[in-house]
């Protein structure tokens, strides 16, 4: 296998998680796929700045995150299309209650400030350590930790979870479900 081919394969392997990250960040599948495409183009064009032996996935996430942030700054005044297009990613989910749950969660996630959202996704879903997430977001580890905490608290507020400890284990799910069916 040529060197170039192994770079391609490494990038290919990272595409699903890059898409998941981009969709979680932007809440829009089309926009997310454009972000991933731009990320891959930039990465290939700047492959010389990748340090062999380091985490290719983290490098690609950094590029995508920075692209999203610069785009976000440009689009700040535009109305965010938070759930448009996302329904498509839910097609694979047969259970109706999951769809409702996801939809509510998606809307709440979109309401978080971008710095909290990206921190929560990187640590809570992408599987990066706090240290890796801090490197990707170019901030201190403590900053990531506090952003994740604030993101969780804010999400629970938005999803009508009280944050107290005297609720049964199904509290969160029920709160999310009832939020979906409120009149």
């Amino acid at each position: 296998m040529t060197m170039r081919a192994s770079v391609r394969d490494a990038m290919l392997a990272a595409v699903p998680s890059l898409r998941a990250f981009a969709i979680s960040l932007s809440g829009n599948v089309d926009r997310a796929d454009d972000l991933v495409q731009e990320t891959l183009l930039r990465a290939m064009a700047n492959i010389n700045s990748f340090q062999p032996g380091t985490n290719m996935s983290a490098w690609l996430f950094t590029i995508l995150r920075n692209l999203f942030r610069s785009e976000y700054r440009k689009r700040r005044r535009e109305v965010e299309d938070t759930d448009g297009g996302y329904a498509e990613t839910l097609k694979s989910h047969p259970e109706q209650h999951s769809r409702v749950e996801f939809q509510e969660f998606r809307v709440a996630l979109a309401k978080l400030p971008p710095d909290q959202r990206e921190a929560l996704i990187l640590v809570g879903a992408s599987g990066f350590s706090y240290e890796e997430a801090a490197a990707i977001c170019d901030c201190a580890v403590g900053t990531i930790k506090s952003r994740v905490n604030r993101a969780r608290t804010r999400l629970s507020d938005l999803l009508s979870i009280e944050g107290a400890d005297d609720f049964g284990p199904d509290r969160t799910t029920r709160a999310i479900l009832s939020a979906g069916g409120r009149s």
């Binding site: 060197m3 391609r8 699903p16 990748f50």
Partner: protein, 91 residues
């Protein structure tokens, strides 16, 4: 001095259980996309980009130049391959 203090204690931590539930939903949503695999447009794009690299590399006419063009690859890759366990796959 406190203004408009929230009913809950400031920075109130969620219970572990609530944290776990939130985490589960986030994770399932994320995994839903992971399981979609690699859309064709990205496979095509990367194959195309890789093809461009191949063509550029094969351009040198004289065999002696292979060392020179190879050094770029060496710089690119160092001694390690990219298909290392560092790369996080879908989980």
């Amino acid at each position: 001095m406190q203004t408009d203090a929230p009913p809950r204690k400031t920075g109130g931590r969620l219970s572990r259980e609530d944290q776990r539930r939130l985490g589960d939903i986030l994770q399932r949503m994320y995994d839903d996309v992971l399981h979609q695999g690699v859309p064709d447009r990205f496979r095509d794009l990367l194959n195309e980009l890789e093809g461009e690299g191949e063509r550029t590399k094969s351009i040198p006419a004289a065999p002696q130049e292979e060392g020179a063009s190879g050094s770029d690859s060496d710089h690119l890759m160092g001694t390690k391959g990219f298909d290392s366990p560092n790369i996080k796959g879908p989980h």
